[in-house]
């Protein structure tokens, strides 16, 4: 399963994003990044379902993110 990894600019927004997506039925989890990225807080949202919809929800609620990548589940 492909996992969408959304790097977050702050831990606070990572939790906010996680709660928002979980409440909308998009399973996700906050994990520490394995590769440190300069603009990030070091945490990412790992989204285990339809990533496009999930990311659009983050954008709709103005939850900022720094980068999106994809990895194995």
């Amino acid at each position: 399963m492909t996992v969408c990894i959304v790097e977050m600019p702050s831990y606070t927004y990572a939790v906010k994003g996680e709660k928002l997506l979980s409440s909308r039925g998009y399973p996700c989890k906050i994990k520490r990044n394995t590769n440190a990225s300069p603009g990030s807080c070091g945490y990412s949202l790992f989204i285990y379902s339809s990533s496009e919809k999930a990311v659009s929800i983050l954008e709709q609620y103005r939850i900022p993110y720094t980068r999106i990548s994809y990895g194995g589940g």
């Binding site: 702050s10 831990y11 606070t12 939790v15 520490r32 990044n33 300069p38 807080c41 070091g42």
Partner: protein
């Protein structure tokens, strides 16, 4: 025996749930929030966020707009210096605590801003009109307490906030004596709410909150580690981290969360009713004492605080004698130069400030002790 009637300084005792939360935080949340991916850091981070959420829910804000500070003074300094960093005109009320008045006065003394002080009258109409008349084209912010710390007077702050909103002026509220007793919501017109965590919110000392609606960005007072954008030398702009450099007081934040939970469980209206009843009871007992002066005016609204004097007796002297009998009341000027100037209390006052855990029996015991002390030879001879 100690009976604390100095809860306006800091509430004591703290609820059992707060003490338990502090112990639990010491046991379980010993990591650093927002820094690191190991279990200790992750659960501490989640705990701190939950404290943010609780405070946000209580005041009607977004969790990311809740900034933990070390006290209300720090929050007010962040707000005043942050908003006024580019200069402009500022208005503060005439009953502000030094925590707001001093940073504002310091900026004015350095020539960075111009400052007006708006007296607060018993007549709300007159107070609101005074604020309105002082507002100018270059007025950037108004600082107004939600309840004065000397007499407990509640200014017509919702009307003042509305005047600010009409003119795009940032309304900064000092909620130190109001939060946890009066039902305060950001939607009442507050742009930035500064409050203590250790007073009416029943957290431990060393805690405070700055809550913003995000409309007026603040220049941070200090910069440093935020756990984010670590390779950049530029302070990140996102709240709350941009205003929370360095490790926050996580144990303190958890105590504030537990304190707010306690207030919500008890019901804030019930807490206010209880404390107002104690004040009314104390006032009625004071009225039976010859020479008692109570600093309350008809027509004005008050939070549960009573400032008083007995004739010419120095407030500090009477407070010291009551302290010997186990009663904790604060005498003097209460870090409020403007309020005492407005009251004309050259020696200050004695302040009675009850909290949730005080009882009618405590009030009666205090009133009896005041009478007993006043009947002593020292007072009969000299006053």
């Amino acid at each position: 025996m100690l009976i604390n009637f100095d809860n306006a300084a800091t509430t004591f005792p703290k609820p059992l749930c707060v003490r338990k939360a502090v112990a639990e935080a010491m046991e379980n949340f010993g990591g650093n929030a927002g820094r690191g991916g190991h279990p200790l850091a992750m659960r501490t981070s989640a705990a701190l966020y939950s404290a943010r959420e609780t405070a946000a829910g209580f005041f009607g804000a977004s969790p990311e707009n809740v900034i933990f500070t070390m006290n209300c003074t720090y929050a007010l300094n962040m707000a005043i210096q942050g908003i006024m960093s580019g200069g402009g005109h500022m208005i503060i009320s005439g009953i502000e605590h030094n925590s707001a008045a001093r940073p504002a006065a310091a900026l004015a003394a350095k020539g960075c801003i111009t400052l007006s002080v708006a007296p607060v009258y018993a007549d709300d109409e007159l107070t609101a009109e005074t604020f309105r008349s002082l507002m100018r084209e270059d007025t950037k912010a108004v600082v107004c307490t939600l309840a004065g710390n000397v007499t407990g007077q509640i200014p017509p702050w919702k009307r003042i906030a509305a005047l600010c909103r009409e003119r795009d002026i940032c309304f900064i509220a000092d909620g130190a004596q109001a939060c946890g007793i009066l039902d305060i919501k950001m939607s009442d017109g507050i742009n930035i709410l500064c409050t203590a965590g250790h007073k009416g919110l029943y957290g431990i000392t060393g805690t405070g909150l700055l809550i913003t609606d995000g409309r007026y960005p603040l220049t941070p007072l200090i910069q440093g580690g935020t756990g984010s954008s670590s390779l950049s030398l530029v302070q990140p702009g996102l709240l709350p981290e941009s205003l929370e450099s360095g490790t926050p007081c996580i144990i303190g934040a958890m105590s504030v969360k537990a304190g707010i939970d306690f207030i919500q469980k008890q019901n804030i209206s019930r807490i206010r009713y209880h404390e107002e009843n104690l004040c009314s009871r104390f006032i009625s007992r004071l009225k039976g004492i010859h020479g008692a002066v109570i600093y309350r005016e008809s027509g004005a609204a008050y939070a549960p605080v009573v400032s008083f004097n007995i004739g010419d007796i120095p407030p500090e002297l009477l407070a010291a004698d009551l302290a010997e009998k186990g009663f904790c009341l604060r005498a003097g000027f209460h870090c409020a130069a403007l309020a005492h100037t407005q009251l004309g209390t050259q020696n200050g006052t004695i302040r009675f400030s009850p909290a949730f855990f005080n009882t009618e029996h405590d009030v009666d015991a205090l009133a009896n002790s005041i009478k007993y002390v006043l009947d002593s030879e020292k007072y009969q001879k000299n006053y």
